[in-house]
């Protein structure tokens, strides 16, 4: 009987950057397998390679060597068009600085990834309203990011990440720009989201790491304590 498909699988994945005459080894050959749903926290000191790991998994960057396989797709082998489709359908990003489009309303921000995914307008609209309602922003549909608080913006960003119903959510320091109380609410929301999918979170927050279903420690570009 064959092994079930992993949501994320890295095989000796490495990422090196040139910096002047030196080569920085941001990731030094990581093996990793993540199955099923739930929250996986990636923790480690600054510069340890946790964001690099997240970027490789989200096809935001390509590994120098090794393999990155997400939802059965070997990202190393995908051409640019297929990577775009992968980012549309397979992953949803949540950024530390929210990264909402400033001249679109909350509703339009959530509808945008669905438009890239060629979903009908009526469907986009109803799904975006439903998602914003889920994150508690039904009353903020027509507000632009500048009119929302940090916590509200991050909720819109989470709703946007869920727009195309991807199996994997990647969150890079999602509470880094929020106060503790708001951050706590965002973590609760992400836990809620993780009931039906995998949520991979890069975080410094020990409290959240304790709430995660699985914690990966990373240091100097290597996973500590094995996979």
């Amino acid at each position: 009987m064959s092994e079930p498909k992993a949501v994320v699988q890295l095989k000796a994945a490495a990422k090196h950057y040139p910096r002047g005459s030196e080569v920085v080894k941001a990731l030094a050959g990581v093996d990793l397998r993540i199955d099923g749903t739930g929250v996986v926290a990636i923790v480690g000191p600054s510069g340890s390679g946790k964001s690099t790991l997240l970027h490789l998994i989200g096809a935001m960057d390509r590994p120098t060597r090794g393999e990155v396989i997400v939802a059965g797709q070997a990202l190393n082998e995908l051409p640019e068009k297929a990577l775009t489709r992968f980012r549309r359908q397979t992953v949803g990003f949540v950024f530390q600085t929210f990264n909402l489009i400033p001249n679109l309303t909350a509703l339009e921000n959530v509808m945008l990834p669905m438009e890239f995914n060629k979903i009908e307008k009526a469907e986009r609209d109803s799904r975006a309203r439903r998602l914003l309602e889920q994150v508690g922003l039904a009353h903020r549909l027509t507000h632009r990011p500048g009119e929302l608080s940090g916590g509200e913006q991050q909720r819109v960003a989470i709703a946007r990440a869920l727009a195309n119903n991807p199996p994997l959510i990647l969150a890079d320091e999602p509470t880094g720009n929020l106060d503790t109380e708001t951050g706590q609410k965002i973590y609760e929301l992400l836990r809620e989201v993780a009931r039906q999918r995998t949520v991979l979170v890069v975080t410094h927050a020990e409290a959240f790491a304790r709430m995660a279903d699985r914690v990966l420690h990373i240091k100097d570009g290597r996973l500590m304590g094995g996979n």
Partner: protein
């Protein structure tokens, strides 16, 4: 489609930027429209001028006036010149003349002209004044060819005792045995011509001429071959120089060619000067717009690097992001174009004169410096379909060319690089 709309909406992100960029693009559009209108006005003026301008070249035997009995100046053009000239491209009409002189007390002498009855009756020394007005009797008809008939100028008629009241019985005797210090006698029999009409030319000497059919002249003067003058009409003022060159090539050194310089000069120098300046300013205006769009889009792409990265991260293709930026550049160009058209409609006719004085007048020949713009009747501030199409075309061109580098930057950035770029 959403990205195109988003590109358009991006304009409103920074209203000050919108205002400044719109003006920076609108003003060159205004310049473009103004200079196009000035160029068009000058071309229209030139075309009108060409219609009324003499495009005839006069040919005479080299160094000779070509009058058959003029002392020292009676050499004629060879007869074959007529066929050679008729065969030249862009020659619309060839009119052969034979001229003789006749002594007249008081007026010194009169001119006798042989020509085909349908040709223009040009006046000696006033070649540009053709077909003088018939004040009594009638003009030549084709049936007069070879007949002993003539038209006489009113002064010459007075000298010969011919009055308009008794025109039915008017006769003129051509006596070639009479001489003058510049006219030698010819041993030819006297010949009587019936005067069928009297003309007035407005020139004193012009009214001292006698026109008769060419064959009649040949019989009276005994000139079987040769021509005094050939008037060669080019089919347009633009071809005068060409026809002149071809005549010189065809006839070699046997003829003097006198070409109308004024119209040719205007057509070849003034309109070309105006066209060149208008084209230069138009190119400059377009280049200015391209530079404005270039820098605006460059700054925009840099300012929005993180946003580009975000859009790529959430699934936008490079093409969709390019569409957003092109739409934004197009919107800037289009609004600039609208502003330019509005400015042109509002103040084009006022500023047109100043633009002309500042930029075109200094490069014109002296005689047109101060008078040409007034002659044009001003610059029309109308926006016709061609002006609208020009604005649209330039707007698209400027948007595409100007935003090219910025768009290239967008395409080469990976999502992560775009975010780090910031």
């Amino acid at each position: 489609m959403r990205m195109v709309v988003l590109g358009g909406r991006n304009l409103l992100r920074n209203k000050l930027r919108l205002l400044v960029v719109t003006f920076l693009i609108g003003f060159p559009f205004f310049l473009l429209l103004s200079f196009q209108a000035i160029g068009a006005a000058v071309r229209t003026y030139t075309e009108a001028l060409k219609q009324g301008v003499d495009t005839s070249l006069q040919l005479r035997a080299k160094g000779s006036m070509g009058h058959v009995n003029m002392v020292g100046s009676h050499r004629l053009l060879p007869h074959e010149a007529l066929e050679k000239v008729r065969g030249i491209e862009h020659v619309a009409k060839v009119e052969p003349y034979l001229l003789g002189m006749s002594p007249t007390e008081g007026h010194n002498f009169a001119m006798h002209v042989g020509l085909d009855p349908g040709d223009a009756k040009r006046l000696e020394s006033h070649g540009e004044a053709g077909n003088p007005r018939i004040i009594a009797g009638r003009d030549f008809s084709p049936e007069d060819a070879g007949k002993d008939v003539a038209l006489i100028g009113q002064a010459y008629a007075r000298w010969a005792g011919i009055s308009s009241e008794d025109l039915d019985n008017a006769r003129f005797v051509v006596d070639l045995t009479r001489s003058h210090p510049v006219i030698f006698p010819l041993d030819r029999p006297k010949r009587e011509l019936k005067i069928i009409g009297i003309y007035a030319s407005g020139y004193v000497f012009g009214d001292m001429q006698l026109f008769m059919p060419m064959e009649t002249f040949r019989r009276i003067y005994g000139v079987e071959k040769g021509l005094s003058w050939l008037f060669v009409t080019a089919d347009s003022v633009d071809n005068v120089a060409f026809v002149e060159r071809k005549i010189r090539e065809a006839l070699g050194d046997v003829a003097d060619v006198i070409a109308p310089k004024g119209a040719a000069t205007f057509a070849s120098t003034t309109t070309k000067t105006v066209d060149r300046i208008a084209a230069t300013v138009s190119l400059f205006a377009v280049a200015l717009m391209v530079v404005v769009i270039f820098f605006v889009m460059l700054v925009t792409v840099r300012e929005r690097a993180r946003e580009i990265g975000t859009l790529k991260a959430i699934g936008a293709s490079t093409g969709e992001i390019v569409a957003e930026f092109l739409a934004e550049a197009m919107a800037f160009s289009a609004i600039g174009g609208l502003l330019g058209m509005s400015l042109f409609r509002a103040v084009g006719w006022v500023l047109g004169g100043h633009l002309f004085t500042l930029s075109i007048s200094p490069f014109l020949p002296a005689q047109y410096k101060d008078t040409l713009f007034a002659s044009l009747g001003g610059v029309s501030p109308g926006i016709g379909p061609s002006a609208f199409a020009l604005v649209l075309l330039v707007a698209v061109l400027v948007a595409w060319v100007g935003s090219g580098y910025g768009v290239w930057q967008v395409t080469r950035l990976s999502p992560l690089e775009a975010m780090k770029h910031e």
